[in-house]
Symmetry: C2
Subunit: 327 residues, 2 copies
């Protein structure tokens, strides 16, 4: 009953130590050149290798999450860090969050404009402040205090995103589309990572530029602990991507945890009910990667595709883009 | 085993249609004059009457929540709207959120400086935007667009809060106290409301100035759906107050809902385990008001006192401050 695309409803993969996503949306083969396809797969592979290397080098789950997300933040292909979508005023507003499953500690930033690696700034909030979330100018000031790498606006804004904003604004002037009517792949593209380290500790992180042409100051689910990101060693680590408002209203990341902890649901059932049933029932779309404490990964999404990949314990890397790649 | 103050561990009251809190903290009798005590009880009563009037006048649960919170935002006694605590730079940063249990719709603002009634702005985000959360300048711009009542900084800053900040900064200069060492009642004081209307719909809302002397841009749990506020007709409506970072890391408001929905726990058990066990176990303190769809109210808190009150279906108003008023 739950099969999609005529195939399995979602990947359920055992023995995973690290998984990433690079956004869910209407990723359609005919709109993607072979060259772009190869670029995305290479970028996903690079991120997985970075995260796996961190684990192999003795890093913990939090180190691995940060290591995997940083190259995606540097890549103009994804909606995070460099290449983040632009708000209605042509500026980036960067959101990120990270949570460790061992201690339940968490850090997040929303609406920052300067950190080259928002995920690193989020981690600093976790480790170097008594707080969980800094917003807007407060996030940039904290970045300055922490002396983490910051960049000028010109570094973040790519020609692709500038053109995207122009196109969207032109459509609006012509009255041919409203925000809801825009192709989903122009709105989404968040990145995220979940990891399980040798000590059995889980971690999750998410980083995004939010929705293209969003209103100034809008905050989505990515920097919100419980909405876009969650990790608890007793259950799972989750990083979400999609139409953020619905992920907030359903507390999707925490919901997976709560279904497992209080409802005794196995992770695949929890993920199916939350992401493949509750989310579309409310009118939302998107997906997540969620990794159980037992190494079982699930990667559900309601959209045609989700950039995603994982590494198993023995180092085998898998990268997928389209829904029909599920076996 | 769970008794506190030599009395009951928390109030469990049937037939409630509306309840409020005005913050939890080390509210000690000897530090409170009879006059102040009377002021607080009068202000709580006024808020309860406003909320109950809204319900009796045919308003829904969301109307009642907004109606009860607005007078507390206007009162200099509470840490919200006028009389909100000041950040380290002597400014207010106002946070609020509201959620309706019928539709799961929600709205919130964080770090706003201008709305006279932050709860009303949060409700406008819910009803007049496709978004859930606006932060910092984005929240103030949205207030301007919506033409809701805004005020100058001088309206929000009361002599009491200015003195409080001065005192805290002086202590810091003298090296006699760090943030963690400050009396709890100087840091907390959030207001919130939960309501159940004649159609069986629940709603919850929370409004705060955050923590006194907080770092610029710090966002706590109050504007975060799932952390400080939650409502679902199937389970309960929750508004929290306390050390926000811990409420975020435990997703306390959504946790109560999830324990009921997925764990089949009755509300009193869910509230006890989340607020009276998990919260202090992590090192946090605070409380909440939570109203079940069956009209059962619980008001757990880990602190010496919590400003609180409720109205039963037949209009009987109860107001309490100290922990030892529990029967």
């Amino acid at each position: 009953m739950h099969a999609r695309d005529g195939a399995v409803e979602m990947e359920v993969i055992p023995d995973v130590v690290l998984a990433i996503h690079g956004g869910a949306g209407t990723i359609v083969r005919e709109n993607m050149s072979e060259e772009m396809d190869a670029h995305y797969r290479a970028a996903l592979t690079e991120a997985l290798e970075a995260g796996y290397s961190a684990l192999m080098g003795g890093g913990d789950a939090l180190d691995a999450v940060e290591a995997a997300i940083r190259p995606m933040e540097d890549s103009p292909l994804f909606n995070s860090g460099r290449g983040a979508v632009l708000n209605d005023e042509g500026e980036v507003e960067l959101d990120a969050s990270i949570m460790g499953g061992a201690s339940g500690e968490a850090g997040a930033i929303a609406g920052a404009r300067t950190p080259r690696h928002p995920i690193t700034l989020a981690r600093r909030v976790m480790t170097q402040s008594p707080h969980v979330l800094f917003a807007a100018e407060g996030a940039d000031r904290f970045a300055e205090n922490q002396e983490i790498e910051t960049m000028e606006a010109s570094w973040f804004v790519t020609p692709r995103r500038a053109k995207q904003l122009e196109r969207m604004q032109a459509r609006d002037r012509e009255g041919t589309a409203d925000l809801a009517g825009q192709p989903v792949d122009e709105k989404f593209g968040t990145v995220g990572c979940v990891a399980l380290d040798a000590d059995g500790h889980l971690a999750a992180g998410t980083s995004t530029g939010g929705m293209a042409r969003k209103a100034f100051g809008r905050v989505g689910d990515s920097p919100l602990i419980g909405a876009g990101t969650w990790a608890a060693d007793a259950t799972c680590a989750v990083s979400c991507t999609g139409h953020g408002e619905f992920f907030i209203r359903l507390a999707i990341a925490h919901q997976l945890h709560a279904r497992m902890l209080h409802g005794r649901q196995p992770l695949p059932l929890a993920a199916r009910e939350a992401v493949l049933e509750d989310l579309p029932a409310l009118g939302g779309s998107g997906g997540c990667v969620a990794l159980g404490a037992d190494g079982v990964l699930v990667a559900p999404f309601t959209t045609a595709g989700m950039y995603r990949g994982w590494v198993t314990r023995d180092g085998e890397i898998t990268v997928r883009i389209h829904g029909d790649e599920r076996r």
